[in-house]
């Protein structure tokens, strides 16, 4: 039985049919990347998995049981960090521990907060408020907050999309390391195929919306730790990249051809992925 599962999920938002018959099973300990266009319903997907929204039809299952609300076993890293701006980095992480692991003695909570901030390399900045932190640092705090609550699965909603390329690369390495060391189940939603291949065990493309659905799974059989420089010359990497990119473009083409038969502005996607 899958740890976390979407079964025939339908979801609309307003007039838009976002997800159509989306099914996906995530096994324990897996690092799954969901790749799709912006606006394809990726954030909706994370909200569904987290239990923040409910599917119109179909089911979200956690260990075979229906998910109706967020739970401590599913940690979320939001796209826009979602740190509470009136709390310091320390207090943001502490709040999570205080709520989810409320039985721990206070000293243990403090130690745990410090440990997780140290893990993401932010011990020196623990007394700063989010406004005094860079985007990358904020996302590190958010990552520490999610991990410190010790979830069984970490749901990440385009956690790096707002960051500059260099910060992005260093946080990718961080996520890769954390995934490897902690052995946690991770679901990463991204619009970056390279990022997905670098980090994930398995990649599931999400077809272009509206009415997006999952494509076939692609296993990433590149041994860890993965070196981003070596990756570019790895034939497996190139093959995967072209297969997944092709799937996404094809899904967009069928989508377009059913609505707009003529134009095919694919350059934007290819540009974004090279």
């Amino acid at each position: 039985m899958a740890l976390l599962e979407l079964r025939e999920v339908e979801k609309s938002q307003g007039q838009t049919h976002v997800l159509a018959r989306a099914s996906l099973g995530i096994e324990k300990g897996e690092f799954v990347a969901i790749v799709g266009f912006s606006g394809a319903g990726k954030s909706t997907l994370i909200s569904l998995l987290a239990g923040l929204t409910k599917p119109d039809a179909g089911e979200v299952l956690w260990q075979g049981k229906s998910v109706t609300a967020p739970g401590p076993e599913r940690g979320v890293v939001f796209q826009n960090y979602s740190l509470l701006p009136w709390l310091t980095a320390f207090d943001n992480v502490y709040l999570a521990i205080d709520c989810v692991l409320s039985d721990l003695p206070k000293l243990e909570k403090v130690r745990r907060t410090e440990r997780y901030l140290a893990m993401v390399g932010l011990s020196h900045a623990q007394d700063r408020k989010p406004a005094q932190l860079s985007g990358g640092m904020r996302q590190r705090v958010a990552l520490a907050r999610a991990l410190a609550a010790d979830p069984e699965v970490l749901l990440m909603d385009e956690p790096l999309s707002a960051l500059d390329a260099l910060t992005r690369a260093s946080l990718q390495d961080e996520i890769e390391r954390i995934g490897r060391v902690s052995g946690k189940t991770i679901v990463l939603v991204t619009n970056d195929v390279d990022e997905a291949i670098l980090l994930a065990d398995r990649i599931v493309p999400l077809s272009a919306g509206p009415s997006a659905t999952f494509g076939p799974s692609y296993d990433v059989e590149i041994p860890r730790p993965r070196d981003r420089r070596a990756l570019n010359h790895d034939p497996k990497f190139r093959l995967l990249r072209s297969q997944i990119t092709q799937f996404l473009l094809d899904s967009r083409q069928t989508r377009r051809s059913s609505t707009l038969p003529s134009s095919l502005p694919v350059g934007e996607l290819v540009g974004a992925m090279s």
């Binding site: 979320v76 939001f78 009136w86």
Partner: protein, 262 residues
């Protein structure tokens, strides 16, 4: 060098121009009192007659003959009480309006209808209910001044970003924790704007409340001196009320500024 002389110049102008404005108004006032409104005391006369109340601002020569700051203090005390009452009622009311759509649908029309009612209308009702001018005055201040707090708190609560609420949900914060750790801090800047406007109204209402109840204070003094035909003191009271209101607003503004996150 040029920069420092310029800033020095602009500072001087910043001081001189408002003084010029004051001079213009005092000039118009003097002109008016000399020409078509002979009963209006001239600026000089006002100054002379007001002087004893200014040089001994805390003197108490009798119940209705006290230094101007002593009267101001009485008024401030009254305002503080009525204003506190307004915040104690208005803030929770605002939270309920902001959090519950049902509550909003039920009570928003009532809020909108009670909001524009004048203090002069509330006071007699307060006298009917409480039978004493003291509590009636507090009632009037509270009833008039709480609306900005109510509406801004409700707005603040409604404007709490969904992201923060999602965080609260994912971390499974209890209802009380969500209220105090997430909603209250997120709504606080809005609430404070309400508090500031409420204080302004509370101070505005005090004069009316004191005039009608005859309670000692700036407003009461003003009305009494009108009846005693000492018109100079009316002007003294107006200037005092204006200055105190201005200072109160500045204090609240400074606190509000400090509360703004980012």
């Amino acid at each position: 060098m040029l920069g420092t002389t310029q800033s020095w110049k602009s500072k001087l102008l910043g001081l001189l121009l408002p003084l010029f404005g004051v001079a213009v108004i005092v000039g118009l006032w003097a002109l008016t009192s000399q020409t078509w409104a002979k009963a209006l005391p001239s600026p000089l006369k006002t100054w002379e007659v007001s002087l004893p109340y200014l040089v001994e601002p805390f003197a108490k020569r009798g119940e209705l003959d006290q230094g101007i700051l002593r009267f101001t203090w009485y008024s401030l005390e009254r305002v503080a009480q009525g204003y506190t009452l307004a915040l104690l009622i208005g803030t929770p009311l605002g939270f309920l309006l902001g959090m519950s759509r049902v509550f909003q649908t039920v009570f928003d029309p009532i809020v909108q209808i009670l909001r524009p009612v004048s203090p002069l209308a509330w006071l007699p009702l307060g006298l009917v209910i409480f039978q004493h001018p003291g509590p009636a005055g507090l009632f009037t201040i509270a009833m008039c001044s709480m609306w900005p707090t109510v509406l801004n708190t409700a707005l603040g609560v409604r404007s709490v970003p969904q992201d923060y609420l999602n965080v609260a949900k994912v971390l499974r914060l209890s209802r009380t924790k969500t209220l105090f750790k997430v909603m209250l801090p997120a709504a606080l800047p809005y609430m404070f704007t309400g508090f500031r406007l409420s204080l302004g109204i509370a101070w505005l209402v005090i004069v009316a409340a004191e005039m009608l109840t005859g309670a000692p204070g700036v407003g009461g003094f003003l009305w009494q001196e009108y009846n005693a035909l000492i018109y100079e003191h009316i002007i003294l009271c107006i200037i005092t009320i204006g200055l105190v209101g201005f200072i109160l607003d500045r204090i609240m503004g400074a606190i509000e500024q400090r509360l703004k996150v980012d």
